[in-house]
Symmetry: C2
Subunit: 338 residues, 2 copies
């Protein structure tokens, strides 16, 4: 369309995820169908709750990565749909459990399942989706892919426990934080992209490149997420701003603000994080201290670095529309915040 | 030893599980070592919580079934240790999540993990153990065994959700109840015994026989468990009597007592289960109504029937010490209550 409004053009330019989605539309329709099919159960609570979470509003970023990287590897079969659905089920199971653990007020802009059906239902349906993920993997009969995804699953859980143990711990180091986000987020991104060359029977160099791409993309993604919790807008992310703060979760913006804190600021952080005594105005104060320390900007800079690393990792592949769009996606992930 | 006290002889006669344990002692030591090893993590909360649950007091009945049936099948390798440890991890993960769901006061005679470390820790460490179970299975490189255990895992979760949905539902049918215990308990017993002939490369007839053995043993086991909740002694089971009643869980003794209830009794059941209004004396009254309906005895009769079916299923195997002891175990499981 000629003379489209500048606003729309700009949105399009900033949405390689959308482009990737378009390119993978047929694959993703198959993945969606599989997700709906494998959430079915005579126990009605399962598809009802599953549909609420999985069926609506999710970005499907992780399964999109699996199908797109499978295409990048020239894979011609259909098992990538099963692995992509398995990846989304693992992710959904962790979301259901996270909502109980974090006592989240919003998930993908909606009331989380546990506030509708109760914590017990969220725990057990999460277990169901996790088991169904493994059913799907078994169907591909690919033990290497199973090994990659089952290893990622235990690493994710380990990261979640580490994060829990570090809650309200003001002395959490940057190294510990990086370890947590690598485990709880980047491990699944890395597994989602590493299974593709395995499925396509590609050499170790491509497997390592795609693992690196997913890992760095996941790190960038989580850093942006953690920055957005202090600087984004509710509508942009589908979760409420300030969740991490209210939970006393130690993320990079806070870790860096604490490091730069003067005496007054240090007392503030101790009160709101360690003592967990928070009033209505404290979040705004936290944001101002974080901005004063330049901690949002430096968190974003680190995200951009990882994003560039992710794009660079794809250099072993010859130039192609899939490679270009996957590289653009890495840039897009860090463009979510300005 | 000659002239051993009659009491001890009688205990021995009544403990084929102990005999099976003795026969499998070397295998089980290897399984225990594997369990301890694979619970390790740099995140200290994981081994601490895991050790509390897995490390102490468990009967290890399910992994014992895997190693004993593997021996029955003449298996000579070591992968049965990995599958046995995986089975115990799956079971432990469901226990950790059950404690959160059921709000249990006791687990294996001890304070459950969630009352010490919190619900969040129990949820996430449960996820970790579940994932580690799959890591172990992948190491055996046996896709059929993986298929059996991953299928069982989704069936278990389905059964747990069905049970949750039927909570305080006085009109739950016996069919629904049987479906729940088949899913939440018997499916893992069946998988634990079915993987052995698969590992040993045995024909389908032996695989079916061992699946049947585990399934019926599991059904008998759960029926006894549900009867014990209304008639056993706290020390015998390592859990408090009356848990099911307090939760409003519909088990066979209650279903049958409700079916036989007169008007007064029907009102009682409605109040304590549906309205969930219970006073201190109500548990005793419930037991008296259940006994009056003969519902404990008939539940035990059904358990004994399944126990005999389990023993019969092993008929396809030639007589051997392993077969004898596995058959005795089936009888032992229903001898837990008199």
């Amino acid at each position: 369309m000629v003379n489209a409004p500048a606003q729309i053009q700009s949105d399009q330019a900033l949405s390689p995820a959308q482009t990737l989605w378009d390119m993978a539309a047929e694959d993703m329709a198959a993945v969606d169908a599989l997700i709906t099919e494998r959430m079915q159960s005579p126990v009605g609570l399962i598809p009802n709750l599953g549909q609420h979470l999985v069926g609506a509003g999710g970005k499907r970023l992780r399964p999109l990565l699996t199908v797109a990287t499978a295409r990048l590897c020239g894979y011609e079969g259909t098992d990538h749909h099963k692995l992509a659905a398995a990846v989304e089920f693992i992710h959904s199971a962790t979301l259901l459990h996270d909502d109980v653990v974090d006592e989240s007020a919003l998930r993908r802009g909606k009331k989380p399942a546990n506030l509708i059906w109760g914590n017990s239902a969220s725990i057990l349906v999460g277990d169901f989706l996790f088991a169904r993920a493994f059913n799907l993997m078994v169907e591909t009969n690919n033990m290497d892919a199973l090994g990659i995804l089952s290893h990622a699953s235990s690493v994710i859980a380990e990261g979640e426990v580490q994060q829990l143990a570090a809650l309200r711990n003001l002395s959490m180091s940057e190294d510990d934080y990086m370890q947590v986000i690598k485990a709880k987020t980047a491990a699944l991104f890395a597994a989602a992209t590493e299974v593709s060359p395995v499925l396509a029977g590609k050499p170790a160099s491509e497997r390592e490149a795609l693992r690196e791409y997913g890992l760095k993309l996941g790190l960038a993604f989580q850093l942006v997420d953690d920055a957005l919790d202090y600087g984004g807008f509710e509508s942009a992310l589908g979760k409420s701003v300030g969740d991490d703060f209210r939970e006393g979760k130690m993320t990079l913006p806070v870790i860096r603000a604490v490091k730069a804190a003067d005496k007054t600021e240090a007392e503030f952080w101790h009160r709101v994080i360690v003592d967990h005594e928070q009033s209505d105005v404290d979040f705004e104060t936290a944001v101002s201290y974080i901005r004063k320390a330049g901690a949002l900007a430096s968190t974003m800079d680190l995200a951009k670095e990882f994003s560039r690393d992710a794009a660079d990792a794809l250099g072993v592949f010859p130039k192609s529309p899939w490679r270009d769009t996957l590289q653009n996606l890495a840039a897009f992930v860090v463009a979510r915040i300005s």
